[in-house]
Symmetry: none
Subunit: 198 residues, 4 copies
DNA sequence: AATGAATGAGGGTTCATTCAT
DNA sequence: GATGAATGAACCCTCATTCAT
């Protein structure tokens, strides 16, 4: 039935949201299933009925997280802004910039779960790589990326920046979202420490 | 007695080393006091006699870790190599590039422990800031850093790079330590995505 | 409607069969209602609609089991074979010789269920006693049972044999169903360890 | 130290006894670790410290149980009574005649524990077989067992009797320990249903 | 100073059962 | 009558910590 289906989905969403929130706040290990249940206003068992286990839950959270990041990145790249703006939007993707819980999550997801490991690796190998390659192409086309720079190195650099920003959210989170600092950092990404010359 | 003192210190060191090893391998939460005791070949209670609690232990580990990083950075800055080499050495500090256990540790240390939070913040505010400022000064003096770049932004950039590299150790760990990639990345840090022109 | 009735009965049978199978395989406590539902291809709730509770289900299983044993025994006694063959057929009743799940079942059925306890005891007192008495009468009539042996003792002996064989199914289950061993054991039941003399 | 050792052993014994009692009363699966802890007046965790897991506990219980039975049997065989008395003493071993919890225990012990399975099988193959062979030899020597009876069959018969009595403890437990019934049953074991003739 | 033994609190998970449709 | 979804209670187990020696 429709009502039941929708209700079930609502509970599912509610659990997922609660899980994401608490994982971000306290990390994966410190968040208990009972905490999640309480926050989602749901019985603990309902979580098991939906996701099978805590690992099953984190699996879904990770999948949703990864897809979300990718989707947003694609949306940004499809727009018409100049490259620096796109770069800024992608690298500073707000939704993921929220404490370094991500690493722990990924680790937890991959650790005891070969299937998940495969999923993550494949996701990285195909989707992320392709998306990042698009970014780099755009940058080269618009003259913001040195055409001689190998795609491999560029991708690694961007990844380091993403993760670094991600892991520095404690330093950034108090800034107003329109602070000049973002622009300046973005400028650094493109022109380096040495800055624009001539 | 001297022998007793030395023996005591040896136990202390043994516990610390065991803790660091296991934290790196399995993370802070997944490492139990009993694990550490077993690896250090010591009774659990001995750990409590020395460090008071698990949090007390992690406090010491963090202090040692931070001091180590700082000391190495100072050593590097005191040398005579050109700025790019120094930058590379500092940013890629091998000893800390070892799984992203660091973030979890810091979080654990700071979370339930105001004293520790104070220590870390003060450490950051004084020691790290000062050291990073030294790096930036050197860079400016040698013409590798845009003199108009504010110290604040530069420091943030360097911190982002450090943490990003740290969090990307999974991508870097299979590389030979003399790979060109390090040089290329370092080049990117200085000259940006746009590269050296003219 | 007839079709609905028959369908309902089919579900009932399907549940009972699934329960018996799983109880035999894994025991009563280790078999969950959800397991039974899955094997019977039925919703858990259907089991409750039919039997009220897990205990209610086990009650029905036990009743069916007991009636089955009794019915087979009566069939055998009604036949024309000589007494030793009848004895063998009854004591080695294949259908119940299938792991010692039986005891657990009876215990579970009787434990929290006074009504069931009453049923089992009455069943024992009337049906089983009567049937066993028939066996003994036949044995005496054909000269295979010492006429001076009290019915009480003889019945107890037969019951011990039945349960002993039941509980030894692990030792017997690999034997071919026509093995000499069955005859030899049966011979022992009649002639004892000392054997036929003279 | 001596005091600590003795205290530890006392706790160990206390736990074992509580476990045996409860297993006999309610069966293995229905007895929770917390029940055992409460009855032994000990923290649950102490049970884990001593036995590692519930399965570990049942392992020890089973080992103790088996060794006990064997030891008593050997003691009996070493005595000077005539064979029928020995047979009675062994087959009706009181200490094990206490509900059919035994089967469930063995099953639980062997199920998830290859090491235990090995232990039980080896125990059966060597100790039990040898002891039973001794019984049979004594019976033959004293003329109570048909010399032509194969050892295999005789052992199986005795085992069936043991288990049958074991599983019939509900029928026997109300009898006074000196009841004639025991003698009569024993008589049946030796002379069979047909009784002594001539 | 060091230890073996013991523990209260809490974690993930399963189960028999009920509710709403 | 049948079901999918949801649940409270209970279970096995682990952990950081303390007690007695």
């Amino acid at each position: 039935m429709d009502g039941s289906e929708r209700k079930k989905d609502r509970k599912r969403e509610s659990i997922l949201r609660a899980a994401v929130d608490l994982f971000k706040l306290y990390g994966f290990k410190k968040t208990s299933v009972s905490d999640i249940a309480r926050r989602a206003d749901v019985s603990q068992v309902t979580i098991y009925n939906h996701f099978g286990s805590k690992d099953g839950l984190v699996r879904e959270v990770v999948k949703a997280q990864l897809s979300g990041i990718l989707e947003r990145a694609r949306g940004i790249m499809a727009g018409e802004e100049p490259f620096p703006d796109k770069l800024e939007a992608i690298v500073f993707d707000k939704a993921q910039t929220a404490s370094q819980y991500h690493g722990e999550l990924m680790q937890a997801a991959a650790q005891n779960d070969p299937e998940m490991r495969e999923f993550i690796e494949s996701f990285w190998r195909t989707d992320v790589t392709r998306a990042t390659a698009d970014v780099i192409d755009a940058g080269k086309r618009e003259g913001y990326i040195n055409p001689q720079l190998s795609a491999e190195t560029a991708m690694l650099y961007l990844e380091i920046l993403r993760r670094g920003i991600f892991a520095s959210s404690d330093l950034l989170e108090d800034l107003p979202p329109d602070a000049d600092l973002y622009r300046e950092l973005n400028y650094l990404f493109i022109y380096g420490l040495i800055g624009r010359r001539g």
